[in-house]
């Protein structure tokens, strides 16, 4: 499958055409069609690539394509003092992990493109083409991120999706809040990227290569840094900083809720399904590195679970439908990091996939609701929409059940796998995760209840025709005739995603339920160093890949040298990445845990139903009773304010302080030396005028007066001169004659 580089390139091409020509010349039909076509083509290519990948035996599932040299080879020192070769190709690699992600991105991406053709229909032609250009550009960068075979190509996608996120959040650029949110997202992401890129530098310095596979193989040969905080720990910590930025984890999560300023399809695609999971993906890509740094793994797990819990608590009290979903996304991303942190890489990736389906579904559903309510996002002004939006209601209900973890929907399997693996690793982290699951079920059903059940609380409308009613919404709807079901392109997308949300879980059926956990087996090769795979039995096939890979430039030879001696350590690492087989539970225990988590979810749902449908006054009473806590939660723990007061204000203050310093002190020194020069020149001017020039003038005056006397002799009469000459000659001749 040498054409995998075409997969990112197709949307890129679409973006280029729409961006250069489309904004000027294309109508909505052409622009939308172009964007959807490129995505469809990318999806078909991806499916074909996936098919070809599945055909291969498990150990050899890898396509490498290196298009061109990007940064040509240069010598550069490594940390051990030897000189390595620094070189980066435009290289793409399809392996199980990237294949799964590829399908998610192209699949969900394609559906959201289709959805957007309807959702964005009220924009002007140029803005419409611009939207699709951005959206296609996003897919281009996201696919680059997924397919990149080395850190730097991934970083290209990584920053590129950040740019697209910025552009799309600020799509309605005339709105101050939108452009603020876009800027915030970009800058916060940049802080994370800073960590990421430092991590990349350290990776090169340590391993002499930036190729994922080569790094993983080399790291596989190193001992696990169990005792102390070594270089791999530092690398992984820096990479994790990058992941917290992109995937909105503590402490860099603040941009994601604000990012809801963007159009809803954008929130669904970028801020739920794909881009924000890039951090999880990146950790998964470097699973071998991470599993060699247990300290950092613990940090990842703790940050993940704390983020999950904190975001869930904030989500409890939000009233903006998209913000609830945004905090829910942060929370679910926390889950994924939790999975990564306890070594359940496959479970995290699995949850990433299922989450992509149901969260995209929920966001698109909320988009349909917002569309129906003419731009209204406040759930307090909704209610009882079930009868107006039947399709939206059913599909969103599926999504909600999935996220709450109700079997047999997809969320159940992935979430349960994470909880199970967490339980094996640490009981108290498991406890926090379980609480989060309860909260998740609660706030999601709160959302459903406030939106679809109860009494209608929105603006009134007149069922008549053609009369513009002064309702709630103002976002471009000329006349609003009450809530209405979304157009076909939107509902079809919702239904397709709902199918995904139902079925996606079955690929990860746990063994306890007599499934074979196909996805974990499928993904396993991406999370292990190749020697580990070789050690565990598939010796000849892995050797074949080794030979194939040795044609690549910039491979680290150290791994090969140390391969023999470190087999034992690798075996340990492989075990470690399996999450510690020693603490395995019996099948009954595992099923017990499952039942427990289902029970938790049901409790959450029940409570939400009681609070918000059966007896809405309870919620209000609780809010009044715990007013302090409610205020803190409503204000998102004041984290934005804290950052504003410290980081932003500190930066601005130091900026203006330094500007004053620059103008007064640095430039003052320059101007001061200028003034000093002027002063000393004035002083020497005086000196010059009265002393030096005075002397000169004195000499001149003396001469002048003397010359006045002598000039009388100059009569100007030639004959006088001739006479004097004659006398002179006469005198000289006489003198001569006399003195002889």
């Amino acid at each position: 499958m040498d054409l995998i580089w075409l997969i990112p390139l197709l949307p890129g091409l679409g973006a280029a055409i729409n961006g250069i020509a489309g904004i000027r010349f294309f109508g909505k039909r052409v622009a939308g069609l172009l964007a959807c076509t490129t995505m469809a083509a990318a999806l078909l290519l991806s499916l074909n690539a996936f098919r070809l990948l599945l055909v291969l035996p498990a150990g050899e599932r890898e396509f490498d394509v290196q298009l061109l040299t990007w940064i040509s080879a240069m010598p550069l020192q490594l940390s051990d003092g030897s000189i390595g070769t620094f070189s980066i190709p435009w290289g793409f690699r399809l392996d199980p992990l990237s294949a799964m992600m590829l399908l998610v991105v192209t699949g969900v991406g394609f559906l959201i493109h289709v959805y957007s053709t309807a959702y964005m229909h009220e924009e002007t032609d140029g803005a419409y083409a611009r939207f699709f250009a951005y959206l296609n550009l996003f897919c281009f960068f996201m696919l680059m991120l997924v397919l990149g075979d080395n850190f730097v190509v991934m970083f290209v996608g990584w920053e590129g999706v950040g740019l697209c996120s910025y552009l799309l959040i600020g799509y309605w650029y005339e709105k101050q809040s939108a452009s603020d949110a876009g800027k915030k997202a970009f800058i916060v992401n940049r802080i994370g990227d800073w960590g990421f890129i430092l991590g990349i530098f350290l990776v090169y310095m340590t391993f002499g290569t930036l190729d994922f596979r080569a790094v993983a193989d080399a790291a596989g040969g190193l001992p696990v840094e169990a005792g102390g905080f070594g270089v791999i720990s530092l690398i992984t910590l820096l990479l994790f900083v990058g992941a917290t930025g992109k995937s909105a984890q503590i402490p860099l999560y603040v941009w994601l809720p604000d990012a809801m300023e963007g159009p809803t399809p954008v929130s669904a695609l970028i801020h739920a399904a794909t881009m924000v999971t890039a951090g999880v993906y990146m950790v998964g890509r470097n699973a071998v590195l991470f599993s060699h740094a247990p300290d950092v793994m613990l940090i990842v797990a703790v940050v993940g679970v704390l983020t999950a819990l904190m975001a869930a608590t904030i989500g409890l009290v939000q009233n903006d439908i998209k913000r609830v979903l945004a905090y829910s996304t942060v929370s679910q991303l926390g889950y994924m990091f939790l999975a990564m942190g306890v070594g359940a890489f496959a479970a995290g990736a699995f949850h990433l996939m299922t989450h992509a389906f149901f969260k995209a579904l929920l966001f698109l559903g909320s988009g349909a609701v917002i569309h129906a309510m003419a731009g209204e996002q406040d759930m307090r002004r909704m209610g009882a929409l079930k009868k107006y939006l039947p399709v939206t209601f059913v599909t969103m209900l599926i999504g909600t059940l999935a996220i709450a973890g109700i079997p047999p929907l997809s969320g159940f399997f992935s979430k349960d796998e994470i909880l199970y693996r967490t339980f094996l690793s640490s009981r108290w982290i498991w406890g926090l995760a379980a609480v989060t699951a309860l909260l998740t079920a609660f706030y999601m059903f709160r959302l459903m209840s406030m939106t679809f059940f109860g009494a209608y609380r929105g603006p009134v409308w007149q069922p008549g025709h053609g009369h513009d009613h002064a309702g709630g919404g103002a976002s471009g709807h000329a006349a609003w005739h009450g809530p209405h079901e979304a157009p076909r392109a939107m509902t079809i997308t919702l239904m397709a995603l709902a199918v995904g949300a139902i079925l996606a879980g079955f690929v990860g059926m746990p063994q306890a339920l007599y499934g074979n956990n196909a996805i974990e087996r499928f993904l396993e090769p991406s999370f292990t160093a190749r020697h580990a795979a070789a050690a565990s039995g598939e010796h000849d096939s892995a050797g074949g890949i080794l030979l194939a890979a040795s044609a690549q430039p910039a491979r680290d030879p150290a791994s090969e040298e140390s391969a023999q001696e470190s087999h034992d350590a690798e075996g340990g690492a492989a075990q470690e990445s399996h999450g510690g087989e020693g603490g395995h539970l019996s099948q009954a225990g595992e099923i017990g845990l499952m039942l427990l988590s289902v029970a938790i979810a049901l409790v959450g749902i029940g409570v939400a139903y009681r609070f918000y449908v059966r007896a809405p006054q309870i919620a209000e009473q609780l809010a009044a009773r715990w007013a302090g806590a409610h205020r803190v939660l409503s204000n998102k723990y004041y984290v934005d304010e804290l950052y504003g007061a410290t980081v932003v204000r500190g930066t601005m203050l130091s900026a203006s302080g330094l500007w004053a310093f620059d103008a007064k002190v640095v430039d003052g020194a320059v101007n001061g030396s200028g003034w000093l020069t002027i002063f000393s020149s004035w002083f020497s001017h005086l000196l010059d005028k009265y002393l030096v020039d005075g002397l000169v003038n004195f000499v001149g005056a003396v001469l002048e007066n003397a010359s006045f006397m002598f000039r009388k002799m100059q009569t100007g009469l030639v004959q006088n001169y001739a006479l004097v000459m004659l006398f002179g000659v006469f005198a000289f001749v006489s003198l001569y004659l006399l003195s002889r």
């Binding site: 904004i23 061109l68 040299t69 990007w70 940064i71 040509s72 080879a73 240069m74 010598p75 550069l76 020192q77 490594l78 940390s79 000189i83 390595g84 070769t85 620094f86 730097v152 970083f155 290209v156 920053e159 590129g160 740019l163 910025y166 600020g170 650029y173 005339e174 101050q176 452009s179 800027k183 970009f186 800058i187 940049r190 802080i191 800073w194 890129i197 430092l198 990349i200 530098f201 350290l202 310095m205 002499g208 040795s550 044609a551 491979r555 680290d556 030879p557 090969e560 930066t651 601005m652 130091s654 900026a655 203006s656 330094l658 500007w659 620059d662 640095v666 430039d667 320059v670 200028g674």
Partner: protein, 570 residues
């Protein structure tokens, strides 16, 4: 492709603008249209004439190329000695290109004293090219000074606000530096004469000389003052915002894109290879000043209310990055530094033109006067966005390549420097995006902005080559990087010899790998695989020349060590 006919291409490139300036002298000053056309034609001609340098340059050759050598002042050994390596080829091409762009962008901006304006611009052009192609130190100094005069008048006559103050500040500040630099040049000159008995200003001779450490130390300080004012580095930067702010648009563009490169060019061409020991000794100071410059410039840029001044301070920050990479003293850092110089020329030049375009329409540079321009000037907004992203180093655009290489190069030397410098990148994103938001986003609130016309064809045409270059360098910088290999290897040979042999070996390998390739895809490197001078023409795997630990290529015949027969048979 090579310069087979020994064509004096460098002199031609050098004097084409000067001839244009001469010709302009004979055109009546009232015929402004003719003057504009003639100036533009000569600028374009200058670019076209310089273009063969890109194709004829041979990246496999370590020596200077396109040499022209005539006696100039024989009594003191000064010569008219021109020649280029990869670094100066790129800078010359950047100069001729930016010359075209600057002259084209002034079409409507300059309405008074048109004739003098174009004459000064063309003379400036000759001065800049001259400085880049001189291989005689005295000739370099001559051109280095020649540039000051037209720039002084450009700022002083066609500038705005405090133009006289800025022009004089610019002139005096730079002059102070160059006078001290001249002392350094003379010290080197007399030392060389004392050792060898030959009085010469030949730079290639200086490159082979090893001066005593004490002398190097003092000469480095002298060069440092001359070049770091030009760069400008942190404490010497204050002339730059003033000069930029008050200069006419084309002046700012040339100043940012080319003139500042004189300083960095000087460091790489003179300080590093002539004074290697002193360079190594001064690394901590240089790095400290660079890092301060990066962060300080970015922070001060954030506080600016004047659009052009903001871009000027961002220049300070970016040039700090360039200096930082250079003083990593390894191939990656130095290459990144050179690439970043080109990038800075492209992106900051474009940003100044962007300011110039609205300044021409509105006659104010205050950020607060603008807002919502995306609505009225969409094409302009798009160009601005591309250049903003290029400036803050978004991957796939040029800025990333430079910054990435620089930071990677610095990182292996010291992690803390890279950490601090990286924070400058965050701040860079912050002030550029904030600027973009304040000017382009939001609603159009100022009624004066409501009817601003978008870019016309001429204005758009000035941006097209810059955007193309930005994307090209971002996506496929190999032709540029390959052309820099000889320069970097030569510098490394003086300053960090371990890298030089490794670099030469890599270049040889690269040449052998992709032999027949167009000049657009890679740099041409000699006629045959053995054309490179650095590595011996024996087998490519002779131990130390190979990068450490590289496994021997699979294609190598295994029987070679056992085969006692002479190798000529293969």
């Amino acid at each position: 492709m090579s310069n087979a006919a020994n064509f004096p291409i460098l002199s031609l490139t050098l004097f084409t603008p000067a001839i244009g300036a001469l010709l302009l002298l004979f055109i009546r000053r009232t015929q402004e249209h003719v003057i504009r056309w003639v100036a533009n034609i000569f600028a374009v001609a200058g670019f076209l004439v310089s273009l063969p340098l890109w194709f004829w340059y041979d990246a496999g050759e370590r020596q200077f190329q396109f040499i022209e050598r005539l006696p100039w002042i024989p009594s003191i050994g000064a010569e008219y000695f021109l020649g280029v390596d990869g670094f100066s080829v790129l800078l010359v091409l950047l100069t001729t290109l930016m010359g075209v762009i600057a002259i084209l962008s002034s079409w409507t901006a300059i309405t008074e004293r048109v004739k003098e304006y174009y004459i000064f611009l063309l003379v400036l052009q000759t001065g800049m090219i001259g400085a880049f192609v001189s291989l005689d130190f005295l000739l370099f100094f001559l051109f280095f000074e020649v540039m000051l005069v037209p720039m002084y008048f450009l700022i002083g006559i066609w500038g705005s606000d405090r133009r006289l103050y800025s022009a004089i500040k610019f002139f005096l500040y730079t002059l102070v530096g160059s006078v001290v630099m001249l002392l350094g040049i003379l010290a080197i000159y007399f030392h060389h004469a004392g050792v060898t008995g030959v009085y010469t200003f030949d730079i290639t001779k200086f490159h082979q000389m090893s001066a005593p450490y004490n002398l190097q130390w003092w000469v480095f300080l002298a060069f440092f003052l001359g070049f770091s004012i030009k760069v400008p580095m942190f404490p010497f930067h204050t002339w730059l915002p003033d000069a930029h702010t008050d200069a006419p648009t084309a002046g700012s563009v040339i100043l940012a894109a080319i003139l500042l490169k004189m300083g960095t060019y000087g460091f790489i061409r003179f300080s590093l290879p002539i004074l290697p020991e002193a360079t190594r000794a001064f690394v901590p100071m240089m790095v400290l000043l660079s890092v301060i410059g990066i962060i300080y410039g970015a922070l001060v840029a954030m506080a600016q209310k004047d659009w052009k001044r903001l871009v000027a301070y961002s220049s300070v920050s970016h040039m700090g990055m360039v200096m930082l990479g250079m003083f990593a003293l390894n191939p990656v850092g130095v290459t990144g530094s050179i690439v970043q110089q080109l990038n800075h020329g492209i992106s900051t030049g474009a940003l100044f033109m962007i300011v110039g375009i609205v300044y021409e329409r509105r006659h104010t540079r205050m950020i607060a006067e603008y807002g919502g321009l995306s609505k009225v000037m969409p094409v302009y907004a798009a160009v601005f966005m591309v250049m903003t992203m290029s400036s803050i180093g978004l991957p796939t655009l040029n800025g990333f390549i430079g910054e990435f290489l620089i930071l990677q190069g610095v990182f292996v030397v010291d992690k803390v420097w890279a950490l601090l410098a990286g924070s400058g990148i965050i701040l860079g994103a912050a002030y550029m995006l904030w600027l973009y938001q304040r000017t382009m986003f939001g609603k159009v609130e100022n009624p004066k902005n409501e009817a601003l016309p978008d870019l016309n064809v001429r204005e758009f045409a000035t941006f097209v080559p810059l955007i193309i270059l930005a994307v090209w360098i971002g996506l496929y910088p190999k032709p540029f990087l390959d052309r820099l290999v000889p320069t970097v290897t030569n510098v490394m040979e003086r300053i960090n010899p371990a890298y030089a042999s490794a670099a030469a070996a890599l270049a040889a390998k690269d040449c052998a790998d992709n032999q027949p390739a167009s000049a657009f895809l890679t740099a041409p490197c000699g006629d045959a695989a053995g054309g490179e001078t650095a590595s011996p023409p024996s087998l490519p795997s002779t131990g130390e020349a190979e990068p450490a630990g590289q496994p021997p290529p699979a294609s190598q015949p295994k029987t070679a060590p056992h085969d006692p027969s002479p190798t000529g048979a293969r």
